[in-house]
C-alpha cells in the first residue's frame, strides 16, 4: 500500500544574517512512520523543525501537511494542523498536577466558564488508555521521575489533537530502561497512525526505532533513506563528513597510588532525606572514575563538597600529596554558562576567573594585563579557541569554544585532581572528541579524574571504573571494562536494589 506523505517540505531555505542554517532542504515524512532527523549541533535540525512548527518562517520553500500547502506564522497555527513539539526541556509547571498540566492552555470549561474537571479527567483517561500511557492524573509533576514527566509532555500534545509529533532529543535525559519505554510509546503512536519526527544524534537510537532517516550537515540534506537500508557507519560518516576515528580507552592500568579519599561523607540540610548518604570511594592517579546516575541523585552535591562549595555534614575528604584542597582541583563545572564562565566577560577575563589572585595575573591591587593577555593567547593557541580573539565576550563563542576556554583555564592549573562535570554536554561530535581526548591525555599524564556524565556510552568509553549514584547513595562501583549500559541503568533506577 503506498503510504501518503504527512509532511512534505520542499526547498526550505533560512538564513540568519550571514549564516545559511537551512539550504534548500527537502524533507518528506510518511504518514504513520517514525522519522529520525540526525545531524551535529548547528547542522540545521532545530531550525528546520522550528520552521515546521511555526516558530520561524522560511525565506523560501513550501510546507505541505497531509497534501495541503500551509504557511504557519505561529506555533498555534501549526497545532491547528496537528503539528506539535515535545521540547527537550520540559515546559511543565512542577507545582501543578499531571492533569492540570495536560489541559493547560486548552482547558475544557462549562457554559459559565468553570473548569470542567470531569471532562478533562475523562479525556485524559481515554488518551492514556488508547496509547497505553498509564499515568496518575492527580500526582504533582514535581514528584514524577523524568521519564514520566516526558510522558506528560507527550500526553499534552496528544490532548491538543496533534497527530504529527516532533520530539527534540527525547532520550537525552532518560535512563536506558526509560528509553525503551519511550520507544514502545512511539511505536504505539505510529501503529495508531500518528507521525513522529525524532531529532537526535544518537545513532543506535536511529537504528532501533526509526523507519526513515534524514541526515543534515551544514544546513543541507546529505542522506535520506529507509533506516533498514543503512548502517551506523554510513550515518556517522554522513553526519560528520569524514570517518570517525575509533576511540578507545587508554590501555595502561591506573596507578595504585590514591589521590582522593572520600570517607563516609554525608550531606544533610533541611530536607528530610540526606542529599548524600555515607559515600566512600578512592580515586587513584592515572584513573578516570565515572559517576553515573539519573540527574538529581546527589551528583551535584558531591561535586559541591569536593570543590569546597559546601562542607560535608559528616565524613572526611582527603586529597593526597597536597595540603590545601581548593587550589589543587581543576573543576569543569556542569553549567558552563552559569558556573564556568562569566558570559559578559571577555575571553581574557574568563581565562583567569578563579585564578585572578595568582602572581602572574595580579599584584595585591593592580591587575597585570600583560600576564593575563599572554596567558589568554596561550590558551587560544594550545586549545584551538576560535575565533582567536581575547577581547571578545564569552557569550559570542560557540559552545565548544566556550568549553575550550574553561578547559584551558582549569587544565593548566597545577592540579592533580580534575572534576569534570558533564564536560561534553551540548557539544557537537568534533568538540566532544577533542574534550574526551584531552581527558584521556590528562589521565595518562598521571592525574586523577572524576567524570560525572549523563551519557553512559561516554562513561563506558572513558572511565576505568564507574560508580553509580541513586538517591544520594553510592550504590555500586563497577569495572567499566566489563559492565554494560544495561547494568548501569539497572543500578541508576534502583532496580537492582528492589529486586535484591
Amino acid at each position: 500500500m503506498p503510504s501518503s506523505l504527512a509532511i512534505d517540505m520542499r526547498g526550505i531555505t533560512k538564513t540568519f544574517r550571514n549564516v545559511r542554517a537551512n539550504d534548500r532542504i527537502d524533507l518528506s515524512v510518511e504518514q504513520g512512520s517514525i522519522h529520525a532527523l540526525v545531524g551535529e549541533n548547528g547542522a540545521g535540525k532545530s531550525t528546520l523543525m522550528k520552521i515546521l512548527y511555526g516558530m520561524y518562517r522560511p525565506d523560501a520553500g513550501t510546507i505541505s501537511i497531509d497534501g495541503e500547502t500551509c504557511t504557519f506564522s505561529t506555533p498555534q497555527d501549526a497545532i491547528g494542523r496537528g503539528v506539535a513539539m515535545v521540547h527537550q526541556h520540559f515546559m511543565l509547571i512542577p507545582t501543578m498536577t499531571v492533569s492540570e498540566n495536560i489541559i493547560l492552555g486548552s482547558e475544557p470549561v462549562t457554559g459559565l466558564g468553570r473548569l470542567d474537571a470531569r471532562k478533562s479527567r475523562a479525556d485524559i483517561d481515554k488518551l492514556a488508555s488508547k496509547f497505553n500511557l498509564s499515568i496518575e492524573p492527580d500526582a504533582l509533576v514535581s514528584t514524577l521521575p523524568v521519564g514520566l514527566q516526558q510522558r506528560v509532555e507527550i500526553l499534552k500534545v496528544l490532548y491538543r489533537r496533534a497527530d504529527i509529533l516532533i520530539l527534540d532529543e527525547p532520550t537525552a535525559v532518560l535512563a536506558p530502561q526509560e528509553i525503551e519505554k519511550l520507544f514502545d510509546t512511539l511505536r504505539t503512536l505510529r501503529d495508531d497512525g500518528a507521525t513522529v519526527i525524532m531529532i537526535t544524534h544518537k545513532l543506535q537510537e536511529v537504528m532501533s526505532v526509526s523507519d526513515h532517516v534524514t541526515v543534515l550537515r551544514n544546513g543541507r540534506v546529505v542522506l535520506a533513506c529507509e533506516t533498514a537500508t543503512t548502517d551506523m557507519a554510513t550515518l556517522s560518516q554522513a553526519m560528520v563528513g569524514r570517518e570517525i576515528s575509533a576511540r578507545s580507552r587508554s590501555s595502561s592500568p591506573p596507578s595504585t597510588e590514591p589521590l582522593l579519599s572520600v570517607d563516609h561523607i554525608s550531606f544533610v540540610d533541611r530536607q528530610p532525606r540526606p542529599h548524600l548518604d555515607d559515600i566512600s570511594f578512592t580515586l587513584h592517579r592515572k584513573e578516570i572514575l565515572g559517576i553515573a546516575g539519573v540527574e538529581g541523585n546527589g551528583q551535584s552535591y558531591l561535586v559541591d563538597l569536593l570543590t569546597g562549595m559546601r562542607q560535608p555534614t559528616s565524613g572526611t575528604l582527603r586529597l593526597h600529596g597536597h595540603g590545601s584542597a581548593l587550589s589543587h582541583i581543576a573543576h569543569i563545572p556542569e553549567d558552563r554558562h552559569r558556573e564556568g564562565l562569566v558570559l559578559d566577560f571577555t575571553l581574557a577575563e574568563n581565562a583567569v576567573l578563579g585564578r585572578q589572585r595568582e602572581g602572574q595575573f595580579s599584584g595585591p591591587l593592580k591587575f597585570r594585563r600583560r600576564g593575563i593577555a599572554d596567558f589568554a593567547s596561550t590558551i587560544i593557541k594550545q586549545f584551538g579557541v576560535h575565533p582567536p580573539s581575547m577581547t571578545q565576550r564569552a557569550r559570542m563563542f560557540s559552545g565548544g569554544n566556550q568549553q575550550k576556554i574553561v578547559l584551558g583555564r582549569e587544565l593548566t592549573k597545577k592540579a592533580d585532581l580534575i572534576i569534570a562535570n558533564q564536560p561534553c554536554r551540548g557539544l557537537d561530535i568534533g568538540a566532544m572528541e577533542f574534550v574526551q581526548q584531552l581527558l584521556l591525555q590528562q589521565r595518562d599524564s598521571g592525574k586523577g579524574i572524576l567524570l560525572i556524565s549523563a551519557d553512559l556510552s561516554e562513561l563506558l568509553l572513558l572511565s576505568d571504573r564507574i560508580a553509580v549514584m541513586f538517591e544520594g547513595k553510592l550504590v555500586t562501583i563497577l569495572d567499566a571494562g566489563t559492565c554494560t549500559e544495561y547494568d548501569l541503568g539497572a543500578h541508576m533506577t534502583g532496580a537492582s536494589r528492589r529486586s535484591a
Binding site: 569546597g308 562549595m309 558556573e339 566577560f345 595580579s362 591587575f367 576560535h386 563563542f397
Partner: protein, 358 residues
C-alpha cells in the same frame, strides 16, 4: 570602522533617540497646557546653557549627581541594587557639618580633609549596613536601603531640630571658614554668583578613581564578576559576601561625598531637605551612563541641566511639568537600553570577523 566603535556609536544613537523622543513627549504635555513647546525649550536651553552663570548652576547640581551616580553605579556593577544613596548622602552631610562646626579654627589643610573623611565614614557606615544584611542573611537590599533612607531622614531630622539647630531654623550652625571649599568663581570670574565649587574637581577625581578600580584592579574585576555571574564567581571561590560588603561601604562613602558640595561648598551648614532627591537622581544618572564611571559626569551634567533648566522655566510652566519631563527621559532611556540589548548581539555578530556558529 571597527566593531567596537560601531557598537559605541549605535549605543550613543540609541540614547540620543531616547532623549529626542522624550522632548517630543514633553512637548505634548506643554502643548496640552496651552504653551508653545519650542519656545519653552528654547528658553530652557538659553537660560541654562546659554550663559556662564547658568552653566555654573548646572555644574553645581551635576557635582552632587556625579557622586550619587558613582555610588549607585559601583553597586549596580556588582549586582547590588542600591536605592540608599539618598540616606547615605544625608548621613554624610550631617557628619561633615558636625565636624565642620566642632573643629572650627583648625588649619584648612587639616580641617577640610578631616570633614571629608568624617562624611565618608558616615556614609560608609550607612552603606555597610545593607551590604552586611545581604551578605550575612541574604536580606534583600532594595527593601533595606529604602528603609535606611527613612531611618536616616528621621534620625537626622531629630538630631538637627533637637540637638544642633540654630534656633528658629532647620539648619545647623555654619562650619568654620577653615572647612569651606572655595567657589570656582574665585578662579574663573565668569562663574560669578553661581555656587559651583571645588568639590566638582573632587567629583571628577572620584569618577577617575572608580574607573580605575573597576577596570584595572583585582578588586574591580572581582566585583564585576559577582555582578555579571554571581554563581560563576562563587564557583571561582570568590568571597561574594565580603566583596558585597566592601562595595556597599565604598558606595556609601561616595554618596556621602556628594554632600560636601552643599555643606562645604555652598551653604556651609546642614539644612534639612538639602539632598532634595539627589540620591535617587543618582539611580537615573547611573542608568543613563550605563554604570560606566567615565560616562557618569556627562549623565550628571544632563540631569543637572534638566534640573536647573526646570527652574528657569518655573515662571512659564508648572514645576510638575519638569518632573514629568525628567521621568519620561528616564523611562525612554530604560526602553532604549532594553531595545539595544535585544539588537546588539546581532550587530556584534555581524561586525566580528569569523565568529563561528553552532
Amino acid at each position: 570602522m571597527n566593531g567596537a566603535a560601531r557598537i559605541l556609536m549605535l549605543k550613543g544613537a540609541g540614547v540620543f533617540a531616547a532623549l529626542l523622543f522624550s522632548l517630543i513627549c514633553g512637548g505634548v504635555f506643554i502643548s496640552a497646557i496651552g504653551k508653545d513647546p519650542l519656545q519653552i525649550y528654547l528658553q530652557m536651553f538659553s537660560e541654562s546653557l546659554g550663559n556662564p552663570y547658568g552653566i555654573g548652576q548646572i555644574l553645581f547640581k551635576a557635582t552632587t549627581f556625579i557622586f550619587t551616580g558613582l555610588s549607585v553605579a559601583v553597586c549596580f556593577r556588582s549586582g547590588f541594587f542600591n536605592i540608599g544613596a539618598e540616606g547615605q548622602l544625608m548621613v554624610g552631610g550631617l557628619c561633615i557639618a558636625v565636624t565642620g562646626f566642632s573643629f572650627a579654627g583648625l588649619p584648612s589643610l587639616l580641617h577640610i580633609p578631616l570633614c571629608i573623611l568624617a562624611g565618608m565614614a558616615g556614609g560608609a557606615a550607612w552603606g555597610f549596613i545593607p551590604g552586611f544584611l545581604k551578605a550575612r542573611f541574604g536580606a534583600h537590599e532594595v527593601i533595606n536601603t529604602i528603609m535606611l533612607n527613612f531611618i536616616a531622614a528621621a534620625l537626622i531630622s531629630y538630631l538637627v531640630n533637637s540637638v544642633f539647630a540654630v534656633p528658629a531654623t532647620v539648619h545647623t550652625p555654619p562650619v568654620g571658614h577653615s572647612a569651606e571649599l572655595a567657589r570656582l568663581e574665585s578662579l574663573f570670574s565668569i562663574f560669578k554668583g553661581s555656587p559651583v565649587n571645588f568639590s566638582l574637581a573632587l567629583a571628577l577625581l572620584a569618577a577617575l578613581f572608580v574607573h580605575y578600580v573597576l577596570s584595572h584592579t583585582r578588586f574591580g574585576y572581582e566585583l564585576r564578576a559577582i555582578g555579571l555571574g554571581s554563581r560563576a564567581a562563587e564557583c571561582a571561590h570568590m568571597n561574594v559576601g565580603l566583596l558585597t560588603m566592601t562595595v556597599t561601604t565604598l558606595s556609601g562613602a561616595l554618596a556621602a561625598l556628594g554632600s560636601a558640595n552643599f555643606v562645604m561648598g555652598y551653604k556651609h551648614y546642614y539644612e534639612i531637605g538639602f539632598s532634595d532627591g539627589a540620591g535617587f537622581m543618582g539611580i537615573a544618572v547611573a542608568l543613563l551612563a550605563n554604570n560606566r564611571p567615565l560616562a557618569i559626569p556627562f549623565a550628571a551634567l544632563f540631569f543637572g541641566m534638566l534640573d536647573y533648566g526646570g527652574l528657569t522655566i518655573n515662571t512659564l510652566v508648572p514645576k510638575e511639568l519638569v518632573n514629568i519631563l525628567q521621568a519620561i527621559v528616564i523611562i525612554m532611556i530604560v526602553l532604549s537600553m532594553k531595545l539595544m540589548d535585544r539588537w546588539m548581539p546581532q550587530f556584534e555578530k555581524t561586525s566580528l570577523p569569523a565568529a563561528s556558529n553552532g
